[in-house]
């Protein structure tokens, strides 16, 4: 085996052991859902910073963002302002959600929907949206892991899938046993490795390529001469696209079940508030990493699948042993979010979809959630075995648009009970249908071109479908109120939000 493969194997074995040891952290009864799924709601600022950072900045992010910049130029840089604007939104929204969730004992966002609107249909709709958006995201983590394994020559293409299966079965076992404590502990290793790798890359690689001025000059020429030319700057027709991509993505980042799960594991409101200010440190890293896309252009790296440009860049400029460290960073960087995503999706199923079976929180609910994480991991693995990679990415793009459809009911619902649940459900359904139709029509890209009033306007599908959702939710509520229908059910009180 090469030294890189040895380092990767050792690192993965070490974090798996760490994951099992995590079960003993705090001597908790892991048969209790809040202990298993939310780590007992006792994580402080530092643990939350590592867990949320480890969870939001997935291995796939670190591969896909430079790949996008490599592929489309300036437009691909949208991830950087997006990962910045998400935090002011998080500070305001998540602080309020955390408060009501602690007061009322919520494990998921859909728990809040049930209490706030007393509408079973809306609760299930919100829960299933989270599950549907999480599945392809877990699968993409596996794609990232496979990309790393595929790069290690000894294993080869034939060895990659069995190795991936072993790693994922271990991950499922660790999650089953230790719950959220496992990714929380492993995140310390993951984030440290990612920081070391990215900082090294951003210091070493541009210097080897002759500095940023040179890299940008070469990139400008190369991008312009491609069959589908792009540029270092946005075309005026891309302004609206860029802005809607930034705003739309910033709005849905924290709606994902894995974000919610990590947020609810925080010990206090102050932990959330502090992390809203401290987490953007990861975005600085992401911004520097995005520029590696241009390094790959300048280095003349070409790949059929752009998601392998980062591993290829590392392979070319890092010594063999450090390439092993970088591979471990990406690989473990996929394990942490995959674990939290499967826990988040399992919580939604156990707490909101199957709740009819156990109206009170009971040990049965925990068992359901634990078994469901195994089911979700297995499904994601099958997905990677049988679904071609481009489809996985398409589903993921659609996933963001789906996730944003919970915004009116969930985020606006944190401040107002004005909306009628039936209108919100109609808005959700219309937004969902519109997102799917636009994605289909646009050939599964993230932007859709509107033709209206003799002009065209290309914008983010998630953003357009949210507008449709809002329109229907507001219109429906006005219509229901005009017809004298007003649902009164709301089990939350003003004191729960204080």
């Amino acid at each position: 085996m090469s030294s890189a493969a040895v380092i990767l194997a050792l690192a993965v074995a070490a974090v798996m052991i760490l994951g099992f040891v995590a079960a003993r952290w705090g001597h908790a009864n892991l048969g209790d859902l809040e202990q298993w799924a939310l780590g007992g709601r006792r994580f402080g600022t530092i643990v939350s910073w590592f867990l949320l950072g480890g969870d939001l900045y997935t291995a796939y992010t670190f591969i896909a963002v430079p790949a996008l910049v490599y592929g489309v130029g300036a437009l691909g840089f949208f991830a950087v302002p997006y990962a910045t604007l998400a935090y002011p939104i998080a500070l305001v929204v998540l602080t309020r959600f955390w408060t009501v969730a602690r007061a009322r004992g919520y494990v998921t966002a859909a728990d809040f929907i049930r209490d706030r609107y007393d509408d079973r249909g809306l609760e299930i709709a919100i829960a299933l949206t989270g599950v549907a958006a999480s599945m392809p995201y877990v699968a993409l983590q596996l794609v990232g892991m496979r990309a790393v394994l595929g790069q290690f020559g000894v294993l080869g293409a034939a060895g990659a899938m069995p190795a991936l299966t072993v790693a994922f079965v271990l991950l499922a076992a660790v999650t089953y046993v230790s719950g959220l404590r496992a990714p929380a502990l492993i995140a310390f290793v993951k984030d440290t490795l990612i920081y070391v790798t990215v900082i090294t890359a951003i210091v070493v690689i541009p210097a080897r390529l002759g500095g940023w001025s040179h890299i940008f000059a070469v990139s400008a020429a190369t991008l312009a001469s491609r069959p589908r030319p792009s540029s270092l700057l946005l075309a005026p027709s891309q302004y609206f696209t860029y802005s809607t991509m930034v705003l739309g993505s910033a709005l849905f980042l924290f709606l994902y079940p894995h974000s919610i799960t990590s947020v609810l594991s925080a010990r206090s409101r102050e932990v959330i508030r502090r992390n809203a200010a401290l987490l953007p440190i990861y975005s600085i890293l992401l911004g520097l990493l995005a520029l590696l896309g241009y390094c790959a252009v300048a280095a003349g790296i070409s790949a059929k699948d752009t998601s392998s440009i980062v591993p290829l860049l590392f392979a070319r400029y890092f010594p063999q042993w450090f390439y092993g460290v970088a591979g471990a960073a990406i690989f473990i960087g996929a394990l942490v979010p995959a674990a939290v995503m499967s826990i988040g999706a399992a919580n939604l199923c156990a707490s909101n979809v199957f709740r009819e079976f156990s109206p009170q929180r009971s040990p049965v609910e925990t068992i359901v959630a634990k078994v469901l994480t195994l089911v979700i991991c297995a499904t994601a693995l099958l997905f990677v075995f049988f679904v071609p990679v481009p489809y996985a990415i398409d589903f993921q793009l659609l996933g963001g648009a789906l996730m944003l459809q919970v915004f009116p009911a969930f985020v606006m619902g944190l401040w107002t009970r004005w909306f009628e649940p039936k209108a919100l459900l109609a808005g959700w359904a219309c937004g969902l249908a519109a997102a799917c139709a636009m994605a289909y029509d646009a050939g599964f890209t993230s932007n859709y071109t509107l033709h209206a009033f003799g002009g065209t306007l290309t914008g983010f599908i998630a953003f357009y479908s949210l507008l449709i959702n809002l329109l229907v939710s507001v219109g429906g509520t006005l219509a229901l109120h005009a017809a004298g229908v007003a649902s009164g059910g709301d089990r939350t009180t003003a004191a729960d939000f204080a």
Binding site: P88, L91, L232, L233, S268, R269, R273, A276, P280
Partner: protein, 64 residues
């Protein structure tokens, strides 16, 4: 309640980054990075500072 005013600071990053015509330029470059790139990277640094100010000045003295 007057302390809520600090939250208005958080509007700045939105104004600063959601209007691409403001910064879609190559010059002035900084350390080889075109303006478009270093300007947006600057917001990644400035935003957490603004967030930090808001968090500190609207602190509730909660147990951490």
């Amino acid at each position: 309640m007057r302390r809520r005013g600090w939250y208005l600071l958080l509007i700045l990053p939105f104004v600063g980054t959601l209007l691409p015509p403001l910064y879609n330029r190559a010059h002035p470059a900084l350390a080889g990075l075109p303006f478009f790139y270093w300007y947006q990277l600057a917001w990644v640094v400035v935003t957490p500072i603004l967030l930090g100010i808001v968090v500190v000045f609207t602190g509730e003295g909660d147990r951490v």
